[in-house]
């Protein structure tokens, strides 16, 4: 079979950073291969080497302007191990959790309402001039304002716990550097009831959309996969801390309750010459079948229950759609994300009423170690930070596996599935382009870092032949 055409879509809009999609088709127009390329190399691990370990929780926030709090906390958890301070004081752990739930809440709200909802509210085939957040603001103004205020509330929590918006310093090795004052607590409590109402409403929107469009969504970019996340010792969802659990596409355990300090025994990373982004896989299954999904869908598949009542009720409704079995529907990420948003708000409410947040015992230290791994469930999925530190307190090794990297193979699979189902000939129709973007966006990927600068961002679609000759080009923006 001779491959004659290559279709390139770059960059994908409404995902962070720059990526492009290449679809190879044969003479009959059948999709042979589809790839999501990530075109920027971060080199961040090398940047960290030589730095003093206690600087790292602040430095790593530079990696990403989208989820700096997740990197901040994952690095702090790794450095807790370095100072022997992993058993945090109640105040320190609860402050960090509050920060984390604030991040989760604002990130999920932003993604659902401002990045995904235009696709859902206007349909995949709607004109891109309307199918965007400003279109949502015009047609559904109350929803748009609500989403902004949800995002803003989460940001206020981050500011109150991390100290500032950029390069927050809240989490330090072995604890935190500030508690939550009564004034800060009271200011946040004022908004909590309204936020809870909105969070419940968001779950309802996602549930009703998914169930109403189930026939269309079930096959859309979907495939069977393994799923991985942290879970608490009793099997509950825990977004801040826990042990590693992986299940297969039918929900059977692959491994369970493994201390993430030993992650290198479980997970390896494959390298492919066409992408800067690695392809993680479960070692004992190998790269062909050992790839897995992370993030909201995976977490709802791995957790036995959620320990907050409204989110647990929402989880049960979510699971009921697949008869209690593992959910492998790519578009179900959105509903799962809203269940987590509700869980985060319940946790925020619980924490704001906890007097430990005003405690004074902020830092612990113990026996010094030279190596530490910190893992957290970031909005987009499981985030690994692994460091070795020498006797001069300098980092000599850093390895990060970010959420989007875990989802690399699944995103490629999603693109392939959509291309197979919707590509007709070699023409890149708006419908195909939209659907590829919709499938990738379900994962809420963060493909790069926060370099943005005026002058970037556009979408360019190209059809080229096997020799690289551009046959057709189409742009947006």
């Amino acid at each position: 079979m001779s491959v004659i055409k290559r279709i390139v879509i770059e960059p994908v809009t409404r995902v962070e950073g720059h990526g492009k999609v290449t679809i190879l088709v044969d003479e009959a127009g059948k999709v042979v291969q589809a790839r999501l390329h990530v075109v920027e190399f971060r080199g961040f691990e090398r940047f960290i080497q030589g730095r003093l370990f206690w600087e790292v929780p602040v430095l790593v926030q530079r990696l990403c302007g989208i989820c700096p709090v997740s990197h901040h906390l994952a690095a702090a958890k790794a450095m807790d191990r370095i100072v022997g301070g992993e058993r945090l004081t109640p105040t320190a752990e609860k402050i960090r959790r509050l920060m984390h739930y604030g991040q989760m809440y604002q990130s999920h709200a932003l993604h659902f309402f401002h990045l995904a909802s235009p696709d859902l509210l206007f349909g995949f085939d709607a004109d891109p001039a309307i199918r965007n957040v400003i279109g949502v603001a015009g047609k559904y103004p109350e929803l748009a304002v609500q989403a902004v205020m949800m995002r803003k509330y989460g940001q206020e929590i981050i500011k109150a716990t991390a100290g500032k918006k950029i390069h927050g310093t809240g989490a330090i090795p072995g604890g935190v550097n500030k508690n939550l004052s009564l004034a800060e607590r009271d200011a946040l409590l004022k908004g909590v009831d309204q936020q809870m109402t909105w969070a419940k409403s968001a779950v309802k929107i996602a549930r009703e959309y998914t169930t109403a469009h189930l026939k269309e969504l079930l096959p859309f970019g979907s495939f069977e996969s393994n799923h991985l996340s942290l879970v608490r010792a009793d099997g509950a969802m825990d977004l801040y801390h826990g042990n590693l659990r992986a299940v297969d596409a039918q929900g059977k355990p692959i491994f369970d309750q493994i201390d993430y300090q030993k992650y290198v025994d479980l997970i390896a990373e494959d390298v492919r010459d066409w992408s800067y982004m690695k392809f993680p896989f479960i070692k004992k299954l190998g790269p062909e079948t050992g790839w897995y999904r992370v993030g909201p869908l995976a977490r709802l598949n791995t957790a036995d229950f959620i320990d907050t009542p409204a989110a647990e009720a929402a989880r049960k409704e979510f699971r009921a759609v697949t008869g209690g079995k593992t959910n492998n529907v790519t578009m179900a990420y959105h509903w799962a994300r809203m269940v987590e948003l509700l869980h985060s708000m319940e946790k925020i409410q619980e924490l704001l009423n906890d007097k430990d947040l005003q405690g004074q015992d902020l830092v612990v230290k113990g026996e010094r170690r030279e190596e530490g791994v910190g893992v957290i469930e970031a909005p987009r999925g499981t985030l690994f930070h692994h460091y070795r530190v020498d006797k001069n307190d300098q980092v000599v090794m850093a390895n990060l596996i970010v959420s989007t990297t875990h989802n690399n193979e699944p995103m490629n699979r999603a693109v392939s599935k959509v291309a197979q189902d919707h590509l007709s000939g070699v023409e890149i129709t708006e419908g195909l382009l939209n659907r590829i973007e919709v499938a990738i966006r379900a994962y809420d990927p963060c493909l790069s870092c926060a370099t943005h600068a005026l002058g970037q961002m556009a979408i360019d679609v190209r059809v080229v032949d096997g020799a690289g000759k551009v046959l057709c080009e189409k742009g947006r923006g």
Binding site: N132, V133, K165, A450
Partner: protein
């Protein structure tokens, strides 16, 4: 210093850990200690949708960002509300935030952008390049004067992207 009772927001954005991408926050860091009445300084990694709510509280906003191209050492221009396409990513462009502020919050804010020319964006590191530092110093002097005199529209004619001035020598704006 007369601000005519207007509330002005100077909003620098960019990633200080990515070389010259940090020019926006660097300008705000340098401007803030002067503490001009009626002027609020904010900075963040990038603009986002919730900034629409913030903008609604101000009469004038000056977005400050690194510019990958265009006149040196900086340019200053109007920001028109932009309804085009969508948010390219989790972040937003100034025109989109202004459009959302108007659409959702009825904001009447007048918006301008100050683009400080940068040169090195791929590097991981918290230092600005030397040419970017020089541009930053000139941009700081400009913005101090701009918020003091508030002749923003005049400045756009003098320092706009299409003003044709080139601005290679980096003079301060004339009063």
């Amino acid at each position: 210093m007369n601000h005519g009772g207007r509330h002005i927001l100077v909003y620098g954005y960019g990633n200080p850990g990515r070389g010259d991408d940090g020019l926006g926050p660097a300008l705000v860091d340098a401007l803030e200690p002067f503490g001009a009445d009626g002027v609020t300084c904010e900075s963040d990694y990038q603009l986002a949708v919730e900034d629409a709510a913030t903008l609604a509280k101000y009469d004038v906003v000056v977005f400050v960002d690194a510019a990958m191209s265009g006149p040196e050492p900086f340019w200053f221009d109007h920001v028109q509300p932009s309804r085009e396409l969508s948010f390219s990513s989790h972040s937003a462009m100034p025109g989109q935030v202004v459009a959302l502020a108007r659409e959702m919050f009825g904001a009447q804010v007048k918006a301008y952008a100050l683009g400080i020319r940068g040169y090195r964006f791929g590097d991981l590191g918290d230092s600005l390049s030397e040419p970017a530092r020089a541009n930053l110093a000139l941009a700081l002097a400009f913005v101090q004067r701009a918020v003091s005199e508030q002749r923003f529209d005049e400045y756009t004619k003098q320092f706009g992207v299409d003003s044709g001035r080139g601005c290679a020598c980096g003079p301060q704006p004339e009063a």
